[in-house]
């Protein structure tokens, strides 16, 4: 078994896992939602070709940097790209299409309570249905790739990608169907829906729910279950509340600079909450990594000098860049892989200290990666990981 085959067996890092029932549930629901979303987008593309192109171009300018920042927020173990794309697709095509079909709850509320309930009802019903449908994708992802949900930050990344996908498609629909679809209408919609409020929307709501899923999906740590469930409930509650506050009547945009300021201000509390939550999650990540690196079994594989580099994401990037200069791209790629597998070893020791077979296999993978790296001329000159 080659090093690469061993790595793939230990960490599939893939979305295609047909042996998992959650894979099929995710795929089928995604296809149903996508059929509805794609039909809607196809119709709206006919409204104005120039407006359509401008809408996607503007949203790309916003979405690409957000995606990069979100992806890099996970300090120690970046999520597999196929799974991140699956999360984005769920938000963009699955949850949006299902939400369109779920619009009947607002009408039901109006029918039951009278038209007076419609304005308030919309502020409550829409957030609940949208957040539930987005959360379903995150939960299914956690079920089909449990091995990639180690802590809150992993859930944060997947949740944020679901929210980003949802926000992009919802914005395109609004630009075209509500703001008129012309280039002028698209620019107006971009100003109101993205520039003034993009930071506080679906990305944050779903990221919070993702953190809750990540916390509950991860292997139990020192925290008692009641504390984990309490934190998770708080995160989910904050997401729903943030979305409901955003939709409250009287706080919806009516145009003008004051309206844009209102939109910006009313999202600030949630943004601050998410920043604090991310900092807490980072501290948790550092805590478990330090604890795992200090165990004898990891210390035997990861030298003290390497451990110091692993603890500091910037030092990891610097060491890979130095390796690229010293020994070429292949060596740099191998070093990046070695560092990732060393973090994976720390995770296995942290989450399943009694699973000696898995620990031995992972330790063997790290050793073989180091040997492969050492065989590249120039790579071993100043040590393997720094």
């Amino acid at each position: 078994v080659s090093t690469v085959q061993l790595a793939r067996r230990l960490h599939p890092r893939s979305f295609l896992r047909p042996e998992e029932p959650a894979f099929w549930a995710f795929s089928i629901l995604l296809a149903i939602g996508a059929a509805s979303t794609i039909g809607t987008l196809a119709e709206l593309s006919q409204v104005s070709r120039s407006g359509w192109i401008l809408a996607w171009a503007l949203l790309s300018l916003y979405a690409v940097p957000v995606a990069i920042v979100v992806y890099r927020l996970d300090l120690y173990e970046r999520e597999p790209v196929p799974l991140a794309i699956a999360a984005l697709a769920w938000g963009a095509l699955g949850a949006t299409g299902l939400s369109i079909r779920a619009a009947g709850w607002g009408e039901l509320l109006t029918a039951a309570l009278g038209p007076g309930a419609a304005t308030w009802g919309s502020a409550v019903v829409t957030p609940v249905t949208e957040e539930l449908l987005k959360a379903a994708g995150i939960v299914l992802l956690a079920m089909l790739a449990r091995d990639e949900f180690h802590d809150m930050m992993d859930g944060f990344v997947y949740g944020a990608f679901v929210g980003l996908g949802f926000a992009i498609v919802e914005d395109v629909v609004y630009f075209m169907a509500v703001f008129g679809g012309t280039p002028a209408g698209v620019l107006e919609g971009f100003g109101i829906r993205v520039l003034a409020s993009g930071l506080y929307g679906h990305v944050l709501y779903s990221a919070l729910i993702g953190m809750a899923v990540g916390l509950l999906a991860a292997e139990p740590d020192d925290d008692p279950p009641s504390r984990r469930w309490t934190i998770a409930a708080g995160l989910v509650g904050a997401a729903f509340l943030g979305h409901i506050v955003w939709n409250l009547p009287g706080l919806t945009p009516a145009g003008g600079v004051a309206s844009l300021l209102l939109l910006a201000i009313k999202g600030v509390p949630l943004l601050v909450f998410v920043v604090v939550a991310v900092r807490m999650a980072h501290r948790r990540e550092r805590r478990w990594l330090d604890r795992a690196l200090a165990t004898p079994v990891v210390a035997e594989i990861v030298e003290a000098r390497e451990a110091a580099v692993l603890r500091d994401p910037a030092a990891r990037r610097r060491s890979v860049a130095a390796m690229r200069r010293r020994a070429g791209r292949t060596a740099a790629s191998l070093l990046r892989r070695l560092q990732r597998e060393q973090v994976n070893l720390a995770m296995i020791v942290n989450e399943a200290p009694g699973d000696t077979a898995a620990i031995a296999a992972q330790a063997g993978l790290c050793r073989s990666l180091r040997l492969a790296l050492g065989a590249i001329p120039g790579a071993a000159a100043r040590g393997s990981a720094s």
């Binding site: 709206l44 779920a102 419609a118």
Partner: protein, 176 residues
């Protein structure tokens, strides 16, 4: 081992199905007299008018009232800033083409609805998907955070025949 792996996805799927399609069966028993056609909009169709789904492009929602070849589409949208003209423009650009080919609009006018709301009207002519020449009238007004459009369409020359019914439909409309 398979049962726990199946149970979770099944529960999540059940939640998704309930959230996505669950409102339909619950809504049916409530449909009598006044009909909630969209969040914030309810109308009471006169005798002889039926209700059908309106194939509106999201995020517009609504229903189509039908009597023979005449139809009144009641469409509502949330998340919209602006005037009745913006609502009218957005509807005409994105929704009208679904049931009118080659629409040619006249000049816009203003009207006060029975509820006292100010609205904008726009007449148009065009062809139904089956080629029948039709004439129609759009009536657009705003509501908090959104807008409402009544889209009246009849075979050419018969708009006047349903004028009283249209007046009754719009007069019965409860717009939040």
């Amino acid at each position: 081992m398979r049962a726990p792996k199946l149970l979770g996805p099944l529960i999540v799927t059940a939640v998704v199905v309930a959230v996505t399609w669950g409102s339909g069966p619950l809504a049916r028993p409530l449909e009598a007299g006044s009909i909630a056609v969209a969040p914030g909009v309810a109308v009471t169709p006169p005798d002889g008018w039926g209700v059908a789904a309106a194939d509106l492009v999201a995020p517009w929602q609504g229903a189509r009232l039908l009597r023979g070849p005449a139809s009144v589409t009641v469409a509502s949208v949330d998340g919209m800033a602006g005037s009745s003209a913006d609502v009218l423009d957005a509807y005409a650009r994105t929704q009208l083409s679904s049931h009118v080919d080659g629409a040619v609009a006249g000049d816009a006018g203003t009207v006060t609805l029975p509820s006292g709301r100010q609205a904008l009207t726009l007449g148009y002519v065009g062809r139904a998907p089956d080629g029948t020449p039709i004439e129609g009238l759009l009536i657009a007004t705003i509501r908090p955070g959104g807008g409402v459009v009544f889209d009246v369409a009849t075979p050419h020359g018969s708009l006047v025949d349903i004028a009283d019914d249209v007046r009754a439909i719009i007069g019965s409309a409860a717009i939040a």
